[in-house]
Amino acid sequence: MKEFWQRFARNRGAVVGLVILIGVIFLALFGPALYPESPWRMTAPPFQPPLEHPGAYFGTDTLGRDIAAGLVHGARVSMLVGLVSTTVALGIGVALGAMAGYFGGVVDNAIMRFVEFFQTIPSVVLAIVLVAVLQPSIESIVIAIAIVSWPPVARLVRGEFLSLRSREFVEAAVIAGQSNARIIFSQILPNTLSPIIVMASLMVATAILLESAISFLGLGDRNLMSWGYMIGAARTVLREAWWMSVFPGVAILLTVLSLNLVGEGLNDALNPRLARKGR
């Protein structure tokens, strides 16, 4: 564990990312306690620039809602959507990838064609279409993001399984008569965890970006304040009120950036042999 931290901390960017990420998570967990009122409620006159109106440090939007309250509540939605959709996508991707890599042959072929199909169709468009057809809600957004983000996981897991499948410890387990499920879950899968963890951190980042795009297009959950929605709603008044679009965008940028940096740090720490050159 100590060694892990040393390797992680050697990547300075990753440490910065971790600090930002902890801040965002803190905001998502405890922020709503600071702003217990609904972020949809009007608290001040509309179109207040930042620092103008007492209490509304980040200004107010076109309907007098506090931008700061929106940012805090949006953090929760972003993190929630990012984590849940990544978990679902990991489930689908690991299951299909493991089957393809473990069984090989026809199963592998069929699954990989399926993966390629999903990688060919434009994922953003598919996600938008899915949310529109299933009706906008937090559940449909999570489902849509999960459906478009599992293929890289399946590819990764398949590759790992292919190379581990012929290792001696797996063959020993086969000879010992262990069931396929047992071999997959207790022999091979634990050995593929570190690349999966690295990929997961990057997937959360992508999911947050995708969620913001969906909400920006007006397909967000009507009951939940989200960063993408705030930008989309402020788009028409960009000329008069820059702060309404700038702050939520910076929030997305910082969150996604921190996740990417942490992902790189995890990669350095978990796969030291693969640490990139030229750094």
């Binding site: 169709i121 434009p122 953003v124 468009v125 297009l217």
Partner: protein, 325 residues
Amino acid sequence: MAILEFVGRRLFWAIFVILGIVILNFILLRLAPGDPAAIMAGQSGATDPEYIAQLRVQFGLDQPLYMQLLTYIRDVAMLDLGMSGRQQVPVIDLIARRLPATLLLTITAYFLSLGLGVLLGVLAARRVGKWQDSVITVLALLAYATPLFWIGLMLILLFSVTLGWLPAYGMRTTGAGLTGMAYVLDILHHLILPMVTLGLFYMAVYARLARASMLEVADQDYIKTAVAKGLPDGRVTRAHMLRNAVLPVISFAGFQAGHLVGGAVLVETVFAWPGIGRLAFDALLQRDYNVLLGVFLFTAIMVIIFNIITDIIYTLVDPRIEVGR
């Protein structure tokens, strides 16, 4: 022969993907809320159940599902994507009218990002560890983490609102009545911001990739040979390293085509660029599923075409590889 086999395999894959999307579209249409017959009846202002039942027979909605699917596939094969709900125009006409704008945007953004990305990546690799390298790496990290639509808004804020250099939306100056060269320049003027917005992210991706790939190639023995025999630096970079280093970038660019086309939907929405992405956005607002799914199908077709273009570029850059590989 290799060429024929390659084209055949590509065509087969393309048909497979398109068929898959048509089936997916069919399922999504079934999942979409509302009874299609009732919606059609509602559009013509009638609500009596008899008329709805008649419509159902007329459009084959009383048939078993697999028959409906076959009919749907046949219709799509004949480019009949149904009618747009509100405008009562064939969807295919709407898409055909909007497609050129989208093609202009995506193709220019594609080549801009590939060209500039490789250039920046090479620059970063040649100045490894120096400030140029750091600046490019940081810019790439930022571009990676910024939502595409937000970059677009910020560019509008800077170049249109604050500086007033570039138009913020649309494709041409309305009512200017420009012709000839002035018309083309007007469109290019409008194209700059959306093109840069869409290209920026991919430029960052390709720059990072090109940098890593250049560094990898720089370790090879034949590069040491080239340096040892006294070739000038620039020539080693251009003639010996670049050609090999750029290959993974190009294959990745083909792989990313889907994202590029998807990104175009967002960029067109921000800049009111009159392409199929903007059409999809309007369809979203009106819940016009026929148009939405038609756009979905065409974006997928565009991705397949981009993949083929990428393969061709790949063989042009690397003569060792025949397309049949």
